[in-house]
């Protein structure tokens, strides 16, 4: 080969792809074991979220009757000019319910977004 002439360009390529990407939604459509795992994880996440909200409700609101049953004297306590039962049951309960609901909606939507992201990723064969 004479000096000075640049070597011809060589295109570098990988082995040709023989498989088309397989969307993960197919796993669910075909009811494979893996699809079952995906769906199960979403269900568990959402149910756990619901259970936590109900648990918090039981701990806060649910404890009030027992509290007043054990300590009836609490009914006569005055807080910011209102009797304690009125303040708790007539006013503060409602912001609490809204707060629990708002927190749940945010997290439930996040779970669904994560699930959608997970399933939208395409997966080539051989990939872990």
């Amino acid at each position: 080969m004479p000096d000075g002439a640049p070597p011809p360009r060589v295109r570098v390529t990988g082995p040709p792809r023989r498989v088309t990407p397989r969307p993960r939604t197919r796993e669910i459509d075909e009811e494979t074991e893996l699809g079952g795992v995906y769906l199960g994880s979403l269900l568990r996440a959402q149910l756990g979220l619901a259970a936590r909200a109900i648990g918090l409700l039981a701990l806060t609101l649910g404890s009030l009757p027992l509290l007043f049953h054990l300590f009836p004297g609490l009914a006569r306590v005055q807080v910011v000019g209102l009797p304690l039962p009125w303040l708790l049951l007539g006013v503060l309960v409602y912001p609490l319910l809204v707060l629990l609901g708002w927190r749940y909606v945010r997290r439930a939507e996040r779970n669904e977004r994560d699930f959608a992201d997970l399933l939208s990723e395409v997966r080539a064969e051989g990939e872990a």
Binding site: T25, A50, A53, I54, R76, G101, E112, A116
Partner: protein
């Protein structure tokens, strides 16, 4: 007793309801419009409509009267009616919308693949709906009698006629606008007088409650009677927290959301709207215990919210405020009755009037209209026939029945693949018989004290777990009856709509 302002208020509310209903008619074309407003109602409007429909006479007049008569423990009612929506939000809102069914019987049939389960649910929806409509009509009679001295049959007849006209002319689409308007009307009708009355109370030097001083029971947020009292309070919480999701007129609203995410957001806005509204009735109860304690003694506590402005403010001002409350109360009867009638009419038109009878078969919209007439006529006739049944307590029991039947069906149907049609029906029957016998016992004015009385008059705390247990147990015994499409149905209920999946 007032004359002119009250009459004008009732006439105005009736006219506005009819006008908005007619206006909504312009948008109603298809059967889908009639049943579910073609599933295109945005969260803000839909939440107002749900609030308007849900806040019945029991909320608008009943809570204030109950607080005056029985004390602070009655605050658990509005709390339960609001918390019920939180439970509905976290357990059923989005999946129920995604199920794609029109009514509760539709859900049962789609999930369980059984015509018999559907029929059982249809009967139950109609029963709970009528049980709930009856006191609405009776309350309308009492209110008009107190506000404008009308005979007691006038209220039920007026409410029934307006509801049939609206429901049968425009269906769900037009009712949505009417209900949304009525939420804001009800809020205003309690808020404005409440602000004025609190002002009056403060300028009087903020006198303390006469009832709270008289006895400590009134100010304790528990039912009286030690252990049974504590049980009664907790059982009431179970009934209202879990019963809301099983009320027919509540559930049918969720099908009008565009998708599952919107259903959740709608429910959250409902929580806000209900929380806002329920701040007000206790104010009337508390002020009533200062200014109108004798109403409780004479058994007229139900009209407390109507009478209080007149008692506390002299002259025209008091009359006008009372007229405003009357307007709100009337809106409460109209909106709740409309919602219930829609739900019952929907079920009747699918399973009774829409079926082929001999060679004849009615079209979708005609069947719906006939269903609406039936849905209103039966409880209206009952309300006229027995104006004095102790139904105020039976409304509370409607929650217990719903909590013991539809709640387990929905929760297990949505979250547990193993539910079978046989299991579901066994659980519904067990819960329905348990809580239903309590309804009969209360309506028959049975009396028992101590634990037996508490267990019978407030059954939810045992009948709900019973229904759940029977459902799970019988389903486990009949695993071969798990429908083949159960897993596909779970995909439909729980996966977000953005994903392209085979939803069966």
């Amino acid at each position: 007793m007032s004359g002119a302002p009250g009459v004008v208020a009732v006439v105005l509310v009736t006219l506005a309801t009819l006008l908005i209903g007619t206006w909504g008619l312009r948008f109603s074309r298809t059967t889908s419009d009639f049943f579910v407003a073609s599933r295109s109602v945005r969260p803000g409007l839909n939440a107002s409509a749900i609030g308007g429909e849900y806040l019945s006479a029991a909320s608008f007049l009943g809570v204030a009267g109950l607080v005056l008569t029985f004390g602070v423990e009655m605050l658990w009612y509005p709390i339960g009616w609001t918390a019920g929506y939180l439970l509905l939000l976290v357990l059923v809102a989005a999946p129920l919308r995604r199920s794609g069914a029109y009514t509760l019987p539709d859900f049962a049939e789609a999930r369980l693949g059984s015509r018999r389960a559907r029929a059982a649910c249809s009967v139950l929806v109609v029963a709970v709906g009528w049980l709930y409509l009856l006191p609405q009509f009776q309350g309308a009679g009492i209110t008009l009698a107190a506000a404008i001295d009308a005979p007691t049959w006038v209220g039920p007849v007026v409410v029934g006629a307006v509801v049939v006209a609206n429901v049968s002319s425009g269906g769900m689409r037009s009712i949505t606008f009417v209900q949304a308007f009525q939420y804001w009307l009800k809020l205003t009708a309690l808020l404005v007088p409440a602000v004025v009355l609190i002002g009056v109370w403060m300028s009087d030097g903020s006198p303390g409650s006469r009832l709270a001083e008289a006895g400590s029971d009134w100010s304790l947020p528990l039912a009286t009677g030690g252990g049974p009292g504590l049980y009664t309070t907790y059982s009431l919480m179970v009934a209202t927290f879990l019963g809301t999701m099983g009320l027919p007129h509540v559930v049918v609203r969720f099908y009008t959301n565009p998708d599952g995410r919107a259903a959740r957001r709608t429910t959250l806005v409902v929580l806000v709207l209900l929380g806002l509204f329920y701040l007000l009735p206790p104010v009337y109860g508390a002020l009533g215990s200062v200014y109108a304690a004798d109403l409780a003694a004479t058994g007229e506590a139900d009209v407390l919210a109507l009478e209080l402005p007149r008692l506390m403010v002299d002259g025209v001002g008091g009359e006008l405020l009372s007229a405003l409350v009357t307007a709100g109360a009337f809106a409460a009867f109209l909106s709740t009755s409309s919602g219930l009638s829609i739900a019952v009419a929907g079920v009747l038109s699918q399973d009774v009037t829409g079926r082929a009878w001999g060679a004849r078969r009615l079209g979708g919209v005609t069947a719906f209209r006939l269903g609406a007439v039936l849905a209103v006529a039966v409880p209206l006739a009952l309300a006229l026939a027995m104006p004095n049944v102790g139904v105020a307590r039976a409304v509370g029991l409607a929650f217990a029945v719903a909590a013991s039947t539809f709640c387990p069906l929905l929760v297990l149907g949505i979250w547990w693949r193993g539910l079978t049609d046989v299991g579901a029906m066994a659980g519904v029957v067990a819960g329905g018989l348990g809580s239903g016998s309590a309804v009969v016992w209360v309506l028959a004015d049975g009396s028992a004290s101590g634990w037996l009385g508490a267990l019978l008059s407030q059954p939810a705390a045992w009948s709900v777990p019973l229904a759940f247990a029977v459902m799970v147990l019988v389903s486990r015994l009949t695993p071969h009856r798990v429908p083949a499409h159960a897993r596909r149905f779970m995909v439909r209920l729980h996966t977000p709509e953005v994903l392209e999946l085979d939803r069966g």
